[in-house]
Symmetry: C2
Subunit: 331 residues, 2 copies
């Protein structure tokens, strides 16, 4: 039996394009000892994958041309040769970018009972939600009542960051790339204020919306956003460095913030992290987030593409602002 997968046809230069991706067939045979065969329900495209398309040393190895890409996916076991998995089980795996697979079950997570739609386990209850949770509460050491600024606030991570901060009684400001997204943040997701970063000067927006300064800046964007936020930080503020999507398609290094030395007098902490550094918080996270999502205390937003053939375009959409909330490809 065969499954369809997406492979890198060429390494993107700058902004990825449709022709950088191609559909290939991969084998998905009957499982043998210790393996399971899975039909994927939906898959994730995430900004970090852009880094893996470049041939360089990083915290995950680069993708290879012609080889199927990988990434988060939720699927259902259709045949099992592993004692811990049975037909019909939901699983979370890194075998995304394909509509099905057969693989050793080690390293594949059996989700057990799921209380929300499968795609939530790629979003709010999955990696982006966990990134928001660990980044804000642990890396950002958030305290009740503080002022929080999150960039890329309508994205999969940012939209959860802002809502967790609201649950912690914080004053929350978000930036996003369109008026529609700004409306979403303030009218549906409960942000105290938000601005369109394509409209006017970042620093003026921030100074107006956070006149007394920022305690935690959750950085999804890097570049000018980080520079503007540094100008507004309060003493002993924290800056979780989560992503720098503004720079991921740069073909040459871009200068960093010219005011990093402000961190000295103010005693600021900038701390980079990736979600896997915080696996010890996973159980608590799932418990908290399932509660928040099912009670509607956290509102989740998805942008969906249909079919494996659309996965490349869904990925490109992450950089053009096509997504509001989590970008999902239904398979």
């Amino acid at each position: 039996m065969c499954a369809k997968a997406v492979a890198l046809a060429a390494r993107p230069e700058g902004m990825p394009k449709t022709s950088d991706f191609q559909i290939v067939e991969v084998e998905s045979n009957d499982p043998t000892d210790g393996e399971i065969q899975v039909k994927n329900i939906c898959m994730s495209v995430d900004p970090y994958m852009r880094g893996r398309m470049v041939d360089r040393k990083s915290y995950v190895p680069p993708f290879q041309i012609g080889e199927p890409l990988t990434g988060g996916a939720i699927g259902k076991v259709i045949k099992s040769a592993h004692p811990d998995f049975k037909e019909g089980d939901f699983v979370s795996s890194h075998w995304g970018w394909r509509d099905g697979f057969t693989a050793r079950a080690d390293g594949i997570e059996r989700l057990g009972e799921i209380v929300a739609p499968a795609s939530e386990y790629l979003g709010a209850i999955g990696m982006p939600g966990m990134t928001a949770y660990a980044g804000l509460l642990e890396v950002g050491a958030l305290k009740d009542g503080e002022t929080v600024f999150v960039s890329g606030a309508a994205g999969a991570v940012g939209s959860i960051v802002g809502q967790i901060a609201k649950l912690k009684n914080c004053h929350v400001i978000g930036s996003a790339g369109s008026e529609e997204k700004v409306d979403l943040l303030t009218k549906e997701l409960g942000f105290d204020s938000a601005f369109n970063y394509n409209d006017g000067n970042l620093l003026s927006h921030l100074r107006e919306l956070a006149p007394e300064g920022i305690d935690v800046y959750f950085d999804n964007v890097g570049a000018e956003h980080l520079e503007a936020a540094l100008m507004c930080m309060r003493p002993f503020g924290r800056i979780p460095l989560c992503g720098a999507i503004a720079t991921y398609n740069d073909t040459a290094p871009r200068p960093g913030p010219n005011n990093l030395s402000m961190a000295i007098g103010l005693g600021l902490t900038l701390r980079g992290f990736i979600v896997t550094h915080f696996n010890h918080m996973k159980d608590q996270f799932r418990k908290d987030m399932e509660t928040w999502v099912t009670k509607g205390e956290i509102v989740t937003k998805e942008t969906t593409y249909e079919g494996i053939e659309s996965a490349g375009d869904a990925f490109i959409g992450l950089f053009t602002g096509a997504n509001t909330g989590k970008m999902i490809v239904n398979l």
Copy 2:
């Protein structure tokens, strides 16, 4: 009675020059209720003072033209009208840049018994030593046996950072601005290796001397030093941001490191600090450092200028590399 003091004649543009400073006379009358009259023995010039010469908001207010400058000084009480101070007491004050003063005793530190020459209490056993101690052990969260890189390593702070790290069994690499200073670091101060940052490419030096990477980079310099160090950090490395002397005389903002996003995958922490954030460690610091200095476990270096008239030139020398170790003006 009058004392001589140094005032700002003009705000320096870029590198300060002798004519930016002028000698003025200040009153130092007999002390009245709660005051003490002090003859200064020696005073400190420090890089952070450059920031106070600019008319902008910072963690300390700017100096005013024509007004005497202030800074660390060690002196001896000559007359006292305060019950806690008596003639002959050594005091540490912020009434530097003058050969004597009369002032309220509140906020002036009585040193009690001193076990080393007075100038050490402006250096290793004073603010620069405390900066090194808190920055390395607390901000840098140094662990035994790690690899430490310190820039500006022949300076007042850097020379102590490297030696504390050696006392903690670390592998220590330093950068300095001349071959003589490099020799000092490796031959007299016990650094494992050192390089001249004016000779060749920073990154090549670092990669050669720290082939397995850096756990703690103590940043006194900023700019290109920080960018090069970021390329060599080990996972979960820490970067205490102590100073950015490379940029203090810039007349326009200088771009920051173009590789700050490396902090994300590696889980790096960059944390700015100033010494006064760590006053709670002061007693432990003095006890430890007096022991290390008097036993010769930490070697201290001074560059001295003589007389209040030389204070401006001593300050300028901080930026031209004229000092090895602590820069002291004897009064």
